[in-house]
């Protein structure tokens, strides 16, 4: 068989899209994250995600409570500290609340999200990457 011969029965090697997506680790997990935990396969499908819409925006930030949330990547806290300084210098009426997520970088922190929902007007979250 030569390289110029034609084949018409070669199979595609790629898997099929499942409609199942990942999610952050369970907050009670002892797993330190950078791990794809085979025992906790994600269950988020397209249907369950389809209704997630962006929240309406604010008319302005003056007098609002803005949470600056650093998620644990190296340098994130220092960066958010500088961002807080920028708000203090340039938008002093904005009340900044600085927080760090609990656990490690890929762990969810539902208690913090609840606090922000209750007490905050907006959030800036990072720094990823």
């Amino acid at each position: 068989m030569s390289d110029n011969d034609v084949l018409e029965n070669v199979l595609d090697p790629v898997g099929q899209p499942s409609g199942i997506f990942g999610r952050v680790s369970d907050p009670t997990s002892k797993n330190t994250g950078v791990v794809l935990d085979p025992y906790r396969q994600p269950t988020q499908d397209l249907a369950s995600m389809g209704g997630q819409l962006m929240a309406p925006r604010l008319d302005g930030l003056e007098g609002k409570v803005v949470y600056l949330v650093e998620t644990g990547f190296h340098g994130a806290k220092d960066f958010m500290d500088q961002a807080a300084g920028w708000f203090a210098r340039n938008m002093p009426s904005v009340k900044i609340e600085s927080r760090s997520t609990q656990g490690m970088i890929f762990t969810d922190d539902p208690a913090l999200w609840a606090e922000i929902e209750e007490k905050g007007d907006a959030a800036i979250v990072g720094v990823g990457g």
């Binding site: 390289d3 110029n4 034609v6 084949l7 018409e8 029965n9 070669v10 199979l11 595609d12 090697p13 790629v14 898997g15 099929q16 899209p17 499942s18 409609g19 997506f21 990942g22 999610r23 952050v24 002892k30 330190t32 950078v34 791990v35 794809l36 085979p38 396969q41 397209l46 995600m49 389809g50 997630q52 819409l53 962006m54 929240a55 309406p56 925006r57 604010l58 930030l61 990547f73 190296h74 340098g75 994130a76 220092d78 960066f79 500290d81 500088q82 961002a83 300084g85 920028w86 340039n90 922000i116 007007d121 907006a122 959030a123 800036i124 979250v125 990072g126 720094v127 990823g128 990457g129």
Partner: protein, 423 residues
Amino acid sequence: MPTCAVVTAKFENYVARDTESHGMLLRYAYPPYPVGWMSKEVLRDYVEADDPVTGKPLMQEMVHALTLPLTDDEKNPKVAQRPKRPRLLKKDTIENYKKMFIENGWTDGMPIEIPTEEKVEEMLTGTDHAPDEIVGMMSVTTHEERYTYTVEKVAVNAVMAGARPEHFPVILALAASQEPSMPSSTTSFGRMVIVNGPIRNQIAINCGSGAFSPFNFANAVIGRAYTLMSFNFGNARINENFTATFGNVTNYNNMFAGENEEESPWEPLHVEKGFGPEESTVSLFRGWNVNHLGMSIGGMRYSDRMLEVVNGLKSMLPGGTFVMDPLVAKNLKDQEGFRTKEEFRQWLFERLNKPDGPFMRPPSLNMVVVGGEWNPMFTTTDFVYTQTVSIDKWIPENGIRMDAKPIRMPSPVTCKDGTCGIR
């Protein structure tokens, strides 16, 4: 809650891909990369400067992300649904297929066997499971869409790797782990795969001399198939969702080997993990560092030297796995009195100076016996054990489908039942 996600500019495409596939829009602001290990002065410059992606002031971008009204597209996000893939590729010449598989990122760049229906059907004789049975789903990322794969898809990748039907049950077990060989991380994960049980000798998996070197057919093709599955099931795409900064040489065949149970003075790894000694299994380890030259020096006891090395091995995960030649294991047992792996594990654990943490418990330390007794050496890794998967369920009821004359590389595998050195 109006939210702005802050992501370094290096990851602009990465998060755009994530957003598209999830159908949930977010507003981002992008400081330069990296922010880690930068002085406060530099970071202050970042917040005072432009977003390198948009060219507009970075902090203004954050404020706008929270305050500018939503666009129509943002109010009506669309979930990108990937189309189902056809079973067969368009007909083409062999030469073009060879290019196509490389250029589409379906291979590791080395030559493959083109997966024709005939080749795949032959591979499928290596198991009794139906071709359309779903084996699992996988992604190299934590967040992107998983791809599902059937027994036939696994067979396609096994053919591409150059495997034979006798290897197929092990490859199916690896696929069933649903764990990609190379999870995407900027830190560049490495992998080790250890096989236990009777199948090691039946299909001539090397557990002895040069087990991690390219001298064994089974070790080469099964280890390679695991990598190909990570491309094609885990959807690894370099610089898109696969972000290993320099990669890891173990990604080529994943340190695939068997445990030298016959020469080990201790119980096999899979028995430690709750499987029977007559079961065949594949165990997975993941980490970064592989420190090969492990010797007892200056008359030190092996236990003391191994403790010294693992204490000096800096890693992100406080755990590790020793791979030791049988001579080391025998020394630890016969000369130092560690009757079991567990006794040695406890001894090490009590003396480790790593910080306490969720992984810092005895099971985070593992020992595997591999090697041909040419030198009493050990390899120290920071690999953490992730799981053990049964191979037996994938073996045909009538036994492993062997070729009439199984292919074996020149160096015979050392085994005690005489079945593995076929040539």
